[in-house]
């Protein structure tokens, strides 16, 4: 029996979610229609609401409902420090450390030449404008330590250093509380290369 066309459309729509294939999409659709019509109603309304009200913060490029997000408008943050991260999730991780008093810029991605993602796709022009606003004195590059994250950090560093801004990179190495026996070889190798004098 062929499912009705609006059910088919729903299944097809659910497939836009990351990691959801045809099977999971079908399961989700049946679940919503059979057991949780209220949940489906809420999902529908909140997606509509979010699409309408959420946009990019003019300063940090992350998601907000205002022109400028709460973090970027906070007078308690040090506006001279700007950390560059790849994703809003990375920003949240940085915030949880309570170690960083400054502001952020979220790239919403990273340079990935093999996927065709270049400087225009991660808003480097907007980052440049943000970092050269006259208030920012140091930019801290907190992109991932993948090859793509490293390439991203390198080119942002070149771009900003050329304009007289101090640039630093977060350090890497053996995790805090980590035992060498359980650290992966790549991390340990890099920690040896980047050893520092005591």
């Amino acid at each position: 029996m062929k499912p009705p066309s609006s059910l088919e459309a729903l299944i097809e729509a659910l497939r836009c979610l990351p990691g959801v294939g045809p099977k999971s999409a079908q399961r989700m659709a049946y679940h919503l229609l059979q057991y949780d019509r209220d949940g489906a109603q809420k999902l529908c309304a909140s997606i509509g609401q979010a699409l309408q009200s959420i946009r990019r913060c003019a300063k940090c490029n992350s998601f907000t409902e205002d022109e400028i997000c709460a973090l970027c408008s906070s007078p308690r943050r040090d506006a001279a420090l700007l950390a560059v991260v790849e994703t809003p999730a990375d920003l949240l991780m940085m915030e949880q450390t309570l170690a960083f008093p400054g502001m952020y810029f979220v790239l919403m991605g990273r340079l990935s030449p093999l996927d065709g993602i270049g400087p225009k796709d991660i808003g480097l022009d907007r980052l440049l404008a943000r970092a050269t606003d006259g208030v920012v004195r140091e930019v801290i590059l907190a992109t991932n330590f993948t090859n793509e994250g490293e390439a991203t950090a390198h080119y942002i560093g070149e771009m900003l250093r050329g304009r007289g801004i101090k640039v630093s990179r977060i350090a890497r190495g053996v995790p805090v509380g980590g035992e060498l026996e359980y650290v992966d070889s790549g991390t340990l190798a890099q920690a040896v290369v980047e050893r520092r004098p005591l």
Binding site: V20, L114, D115, N147, A151, M159, S185, A189
Partner: protein
């Protein structure tokens, strides 16, 4: 080519990965004994995955896999060490090499010599300030390996030896042809450039520049004008 389903600790490199299903990755590899092999790394996107940390491009790995289909199942990827991490512009050059291999090399076709050339290129990219010569040597090796006999030392119209002082028009399907006056369309190279490329000698700046144009022409020809993302992005980054 071996048809054994399971392979253990095969030396190879990750060329690229992309997400596959919810928590897995497709890993495109280049191995010494089996050429390009595509594999699925199951659960590799999970935070505690043992594969997660070692699946990284530009690092020699000991790869174990099983299966026979288009995509094998990656079982282990063990760090071999010995290659310093590429940094800065060398990383972009590395991405370019990987894109060439992904777009030009067919799967499951062993290319041991090219594998060694790739290893050498990565090592040199890590050491040398000027990557031009490293890239040209690798491009030449790749074209040769793909069965494209690079015509460099003879005029393909007359059969005469290339004169260092001469000027030659180069067409991909034809090779160099001496220019006797007149301005031909297409790429013009000096005889010296052609002879320098034969010897892999890129010390002369004009050779380096003309060799780049020649390799670009030949590679686009092989790619049938499919664009190379890494080249475009490298150019965009130069304009920052």
């Amino acid at each position: 080519m071996s048809t054994r389903a399971r392979q253990d600790n095969q030396l190879g490199y990750v060329l690229h990965t992309y997400p596959f299903r919810e928590t897995s990755l497709v890993v495109e590899t280049f191995t010494r004994a089996h050429g390009r092999v595509g594999m699925v790394a199951r659960g590799a996107k999970r935070p505690r995955s043992a594969l997660r940390g070692s699946i990284m491009a530009f690092q020699p790995l000991g790869l174990s896999w099983s299966g026979r289909g288009e995509l094998r199942l990656l079982l282990r990827a063990e760090w071999q060490g010995g290659q310093p991490r590429l940094q800065g512009r060398a990383l972009l050059c590395g991405f370019y090499l990987n894109e060439l291999l992904l777009k030009l090399l067919p799967r499951e076709d062993a290319h041991e010599q090219l594998f060694l050339d790739y290893q050498t290129a990565l090592a040199r990219l890590g050491e040398e300030a000027e990557p031009g010569a490293v890239l040209r040597r690798f491009e030449k090796a790749l074209l040769r390996e793909l069965g494209y006999a690079l015509a460099l030392d003879r005029d393909s119209a007359s059969g005469a030896q290339i004169e260092p002082q001469g000027s030659y028009a180069y067409e991909p399907e034809r090779g160099p042809v001496s220019i006797n006056g007149g301005a031909p369309a297409g790429l013009v190279l000096s005889g010296r450039t052609l002879l320098d490329i034969v010897r892999d000698d890129y010390r002369d700046p004009q050779t380096l520049q003309q060799a780049k144009a020649l390799m670009r022409l030949l590679i686009s020809h092989r790619l049938e004008q499919k664009p190379l993302n890494s080249r475009r992005i490298f150019e965009e980054l130069q304009q920052l």
